[in-house]
């Protein structure tokens, strides 16, 4: 039974049952497996740990995974803003359809987007052959990885930005106009700042998602060690070689970064909310 001070009394039933079940589920499915990861990684001698996570191959994979994710998230920042703006502010035939399709990368299995993208951007693919004529190779290069990660992150960016843009009251623009501001000035000083917190959140979400991505990238990347090999793939290879500890070590590094990112998102949310909470009724 709940200890006093642990929870506030309530007339609703079911706390014991649901709390117990939730705790059991989360422990069994999340905490214990996580513990296994931490323990396995920690059971490694320090020097070996460092050796694995800083090997040339590992470093190359970090460069690709994190670098490409950063670039993809930045690309999404620009295009995501444009798409969100267009969907919120403009009417055009097919807008509702496009709006619904934005969630597609979210619902589509990663393997499917992986092979589809590869086929499109392969040298003989629909877009790939135009690019090949221009001398640009996409498939099996880092550029391909960036493109795949951009697709993956796009819904996060657009969906985070749409409500922010929609929330900018038209009256603010009216007010700015009456006070003498031109359209560009109003955009820079009024609209953009209001939207920046959402942009940051979207960026972080897209980045976090991209870093761990496996299925969409595996097909389009060349998977050459140190050149076009992503970190998750490196982990898989360690596992296939039954090097559980090495895999765990790399996993811990990735997790560490993920957690930092999660923390950053939460802090951003709190900061944004404190600064811009609307009180006017």
């Amino acid at each position: 039974m709940p200890r006093s001070g642990f929870r506030q009394p309530s007339v609703l039933p079911g706390f014991g049952l649901t709390f117990g079940f939730t705790t059991f589920f989360l422990s069994a499915l999340v905490l214990i497996p996580l513990a296994a990861l931490v323990v396995t990684g920690a059971s490694m001698p320090w020097r070996e740990f460092v050796h694995v996570v800083t090997s040339a191959r590992a470093l190359g994979s970090y460069r690709l995974s994190f670098g490409a994710s950063l670039i993809a998230a930045s690309v999404n920042l620009v295009f995501g803003f444009i798409i969100a703006w267009t969907l919120v502010r403009y009417e055009f035939p097919g807008r509702k359809l496009i709006d619904a399709l934005i969630d597609m990368p979210f619902a589509l299995p990663t393997a499917v987007s992986g092979i589809a993208l590869t086929t499109v951007f392969a040298p003989n693919g629909f877009l790939g052959h135009y690019l090949a004529q221009a001398g640009v190779q996409v498939a099996y290069t880092a550029l391909g990885v960036v493109i795949a990660l951009t697709l993956i992150g796009m819904p996060f960016m657009v969906r985070t930005m749409q409500p922010a843009i929609a929330e900018v009251q038209r009256e603010l623009e009216d007010a700015a106009e009456i006070l003498g501001a031109g359209r560009l000035y109003a955009f820079r000083r009024i609209i953009l700042p209001t939207v920046v917190p959402a942009m940051l959140t979207g960026f972080t979400l897209a980045f976090a998602r991209a870093v761990g991505e496996y299925g969409s990238v595996i097909f389009i990347a060349g998977n050459l060690p140190r050149k076009t090999e992503i970190t998750p793939l490196l982990i898989v290879i360690h596992l296939q070689q039954f090097d559980y500890q090495g895999a765990a070590a790399l996993g811990l590094v990735m997790l560490g970064i993920s957690f930092t990112v999660l923390l950053a998102i939460n802090l951003l949310h709190t900061w944004g909310r404190r600064r811009f909470v609307a009180t006017g009724r």
Binding site: L26, V112, I115, A116, Y244
Partner: protein
């Protein structure tokens, strides 16, 4: 008789003295850029799935499903979903009830744990279970002694899929229940309704559309999960290959028609998911 001035004022009307050429050009340019971007990154791959699947005609398309390994992959995927989705739904509802209806210390810890799988790479998610149940894992020896296979077998696949997809139902339902508040349930309880009755008659109807969407999404992700299952399954053809893994195999064998044929099924599932999402959103808006 007169129109509501509020809607009038919020029309994008042309104001006096406003230059109309530049904004019009800008509008066209932005729409063009958006559509171009989406066409290349979204529409083209989607179209490719179906075009390649049917590249050799409907006959070849249907033949892909005649293959025994493909059929067992489909069966395995369906079986996994059939186990994972209900369990996750139950968890989602239980966690939502616990978190939305009560105040207790450590609530945010729960929420963080629920959000966790979304921030973790699928490969790591799969690895967690290998570390637990793999040959060299914590329970590895014990399992071997008792001749129980988790990794490289169905249970492992189910566990890994569950890990990756359990947040979806919870994350849909928790904010929904928080938003809807406790008033109606408290009223029901004080009128003498039992716990289960309150849940089924009062709470469930309120959240049904969000719940439907969460379940559908959970299902789509469960059937489509690749990275985590890839690590845990061992890729044994005909036995531990789900549809996404089978797609990988077919693709690596250059059997494009086959790979995209299976992919087309999953794509259709994704499209259905999106349609249901749109319907749910429209219902939710109307209901509010």
């Amino acid at each position: 008789m007169a129109a509501n001035p509020a809607t009038l004022a919020h029309q994008i009307v042309r104001r006096p003295g406003a230059d109309s050429l530049l904004p019009a050009l800008l509008r066209v340019a932005l729409i063009a850029i958006s559509l171009g971007f989406l066409a290349a990154l979204l529409i083209a791959p989607l179209a490719t799935v179906f075009i390649t699947a049917f590249a050799h005609g409907i006959g070849a398309y249907l033949d892909s499903f005649a293959d025994a390994d493909t059929r067992s992959a489909v069966r395995l995927t369906l079986l996994t979903a059939a186990v994972v989705v209900p369990l996750n739904t139950v968890f989602g509802l239980a966690a939502a009830w616990c978190i939305a209806k009560f105040e207790f210390k450590g609530k945010s810890f729960f929420v963080t744990l629920i959000d966790l799988p979304l921030a973790v790479s699928p490969v790591i998610s799969g690895m967690l279970f290998v570390l637990l149940f793999g040959l060299q894992g914590w329970f590895g020896e014990w399992l071997q002694d008792h001749d129980i296979a988790i990794v490289f077998a169905l249970p492992g696949i189910i566990l890994a899929t569950m890990f990756v997809t359990f947040p979806y139902v919870a994350r849909e339902v928790i904010p929904l229940m928080q938003q809807l508040g406790n008033d109606e349930e408290e009223a029901a309880i004080t009128m003498g309704a039992g716990a289960w009755m309150t849940f089924f008659r009062v709470t469930l109807p309120k959240i049904r559309w969000g719940l439907v969407y969460g379940v559908i999404l959970c299902n789509a992700r469960a059937m489509g999960e690749f990275g985590a299952v890839s690590v845990v399954s061992g890729h044994i053809r005909g036995l531990t290959n789900t549809m996404p893994l089978h797609i990988e195999i077919l693709y690596n064998e250059y059997n494009f028609v086959g790979a995209f044929a299976v992919a087309s099924l999953l794509t259709l599932l994704a499209l259905v998911t999106l349609v249901i999402k749109t319907v749910v959103e429209r219902r939710a808006e109307r209901g509010r």
